[in-house]
């Protein structure tokens, strides 16, 4: 994967321990990663925590970055951190959701209960939101999204399809396409 020559030199300096170079990389990718993390975590403070951890890990693991653009590498770390953080903070909620699903068929939403997209996104799992954020916000292809989230392409297709169906259902948009 290709870096522009300027970025290549910055990475070389970072490898040599240059903190200014590291901060240049933070300038270049930080905002995009933070926005994506916030879309997944639904909480600005948690998103900052995830990105803080992302860059600290990146600093420590620069040796594992091959001669490539650091964007996808940072994205992979950020996605991992975001999903892990979400899971840690929402264990109880995840448990109740699981019991809820075991309890019976999902309730259909009345028109009054239909949600706007923001709240509908809140209802997705962190993994689904990560897929949606990478595919629809960062405009990654399904294959690229699968690679970033380290899942098979077919799994990613299924995950996106499920997420989309759930969003349509929650927002009542499925009627228009029935």
């Amino acid at each position: 994967m290709l870096m522009d020559p300027t970025l290549g030199r910055v990475i070389e300096r970072w490898r040599a321990g240059d903190r200014d170079a590291f901060e240049e990389v933070m300038d270049r990718y930080g905002l995009q990663l933070l926005r994506t993390a916030r879309l997944i975590l639904r909480d600005p403070t948690l998103a900052e925590d995830a990105i803080q951890e992302t860059f600290l890990k990146a600093w420590q693991r620069i040796g594992s970055l091959r001669d490539e653009d650091p964007g996808p590498w940072l994205t992979r770390i950020a996605m991992n951190e975001s999903i892990s953080l979400y899971r840690r903070r929402h264990r109880f909620q995840a448990l109740t959701e699981r019991f809820g699903r075991l309890g019976g068929a999902r309730h259909e939403l009345s028109s009054e209960a239909r949600l706007d997209l923001t709240h509908a996104l809140d209802q997705l799992t962190a993994e689904q939101r990560a897929a949606v954020a990478l595919h629809y916000y960062q405009d990654l292809s399904v294959e690229e999204t699968a690679r970033a989230l380290k899942v098979p392409v077919d799994t990613m297709k299924s995950r996106l399809k499920t997420a989309l169906r759930r969003l349509r259902e929650l927002t009542g948009s499925e009627e228009a396409f029935a």
């Binding site: 994967m1 290709l2 870096m3 522009d4 020559p5 290549g8 070389e12 490898r15 040599a16 321990g17 903190r19 590291f22 901060e23 933070m26 300038d27 990718y29 930080g30 905002l31 995009q32 933070l34 926005r35 994506t36 916030r38 879309l39 600005p44 998103a47 900052e48 990105i51 803080q52 860059f55 600290l56 600093w59 420590q60 091959r66 001669d67 490539e68 653009d69 650091p70 964007g71 996808p72 994205t75 997209l117 923001t118 996104l121 949606v132 954020a133 990478l134 629809y136 916000y137 960062q138 405009d139 990654l140 292809s141 690229e144 989309l164 969003l167 349509r168 948009s173 228009a176 396409f177």
Partner: protein, 398 residues
């Protein structure tokens, strides 16, 4: 498959994302504060502890069996004793290769040293596990192409050596860029570390002949580069092939990156991309229109030449490999693709030089495209109006 719902979702996500307007200073500060010294420094206590344990073990062993001390001493001497200096080899003005394949060698250090009194500069590559297969290639410039990425890097000097090791790993802490600035050897920089192929570029003050000495105990490869005026044979530099810019009414071709336009007012909308061959050049045209309420102007642009047809998508950072072996990256600031744009975003015209033209990104008014070229070529740009067009002419072989 995309529909209105997906478009709404995409718009909604961008709108939500825009709520985070900047990378917070406090977050930057937290990260900066959290950067501890590199792993090597943090390992110091563990290394000290391990060393202490080894010393204790040796002391216990020596107490139980005093003869072991002489055995260990002898073995250590054998290990540390450098191999005798080999018979002086001649300096050769040609590419060279050697080493052994199938090793599990690791490069542990790189040490430049000046031997001006002896007529050469030396750089030594230290290995554990033997000297792996290597190729040394001389070149008449200090510009190298990085492995895997294909990007160009120019080292100090006006000539160079490229050294490639195969089946070799890289130990932590080995310098990636050394600048000894000796009489002959000016800079040594890592060019690649990919799938156990390690490559280094050595920038030289001028084209010089080289002597390569594989040495053992410890395993190391010494590269001696003759200094100017030494008794060693000096190779006559071969001029690099250059593309001669052909002057035309539209201006001369230049083998440099170029930029222009202005990022002002409302973003311009890309309405068409065309590619065609003309006598002496292939032409790429980007056509723009102002959006409602905006005025026509050329958006700020940069056209960057690169030594490979590999690009990175913006903003995902994902790699794209186009047809060809060289490329152009065209980035517009203050521009985006028009909503009614119905042209191709990946053209493969198969012209003499321009092989492919593909959109790389369209994000927050930064629009980028790449062009895959069959060969590195000089370019010229023309800014035209009514309608607003950026014309990029890529020189073709005469």
């Amino acid at each position: 498959m995309s529909d209105d719902f997906e478009k709404n979702l995409r718009d909604h996500l961008h709108s939500e994302a825009q709520e985070t307007r900047e990378f917070p200073r406090r977050l930057r500060g937290r990260i900066r504060d959290g950067i501890a010294p590199r792993a090597r420094a943090r390992m110091a206590p563990q290394i000290a502890l391990a060393g202490a344990l080894v010393l204790v073990a040796v002391a216990v062993l020596a107490f139980r069996n005093p003869t072991i001390i002489s055995v260990v001493t002898t073995n250590i001497k054998q290990i540390l004793q450098p191999s005798p200096s080999p018979t002086p080899q001649p300096f050769l003005c040609q590419d060279q290769s050697g080493g052994s394949s199938g090793l599990t060698a690791t490069l542990t250090n790189i040490r430049p040293g000046a031997h001006a009194g002896d007529g050469y500069d030396r750089v030594v590559f230290d290995f554990s596990g033997g000297i792996p297969s290597w190729d040394l290639t001389r070149q008449e410039s200090a510009t190298f192409t990085r492995d895997a990425s294909g990007q160009q890097v120019t080292l100090d000097g006006s000539a160079g050596l490229k050294l490639v090791f195969r089946d070799a790993d890289l130990a932590g802490g080995v310098a990636t860029d050394l600048t000894p600035r000796f009489s002959s050897i000016r800079e040594v920089a890592q060019l690649g570390n990919f799938e156990r192929v390690l490559s280094y570029g050595i920038g030289l003050s001028s084209s010089q002949c080289v002597r390569v000495l594989p040495l053992s105990n410890p395993s190391r490869l010494a590269i001696d580069v003759a200094t100017s005026g030494s008794a060693s044979t000096t190779a006559a530099p071969t001029p690099l092939p250059t593309l001669s810019p052909s002057g035309t009414d539209n201006g001369a071709f230049s083998c440099l990156d170029t930029s222009g336009g202005a990022d002002s007012g409302l973003a311009m909308q890309l309405t068409a991309v065309r590619v065609a061959h003309q006598p002496g050049f292939d032409r790429i045209v980007f056509e723009f229109a102002p959006q409602a309420g905006g005025t026509a102007h050329m958006p700020a642009y940069t056209v960057s030449r690169q030594a490979s047809a590999q690009f990175v998508k913006d903003p995902s950072g994902m790699p794209v490999t186009m047809r060809g072996s060289a490329g152009l990256r065209i980035v517009f600031h203050g521009a985006s693709v028009a909503s009614n744009y119905n042209g191709s975003r990946d053209l493969t015209p198969g012209l003499p030089v321009v092989q492919e033209v593909e959109q790389l990104g369209d994000f927050e008014a930064v629009l980028s495209w790449g062009a895959g070229l069959s060969r590195a070529s000089c370019i010229r740009t023309l800014e035209l109006s009514n309608p607003t067009r950026l014309v990029i002419d890529v020189q073709t072989p005469s």
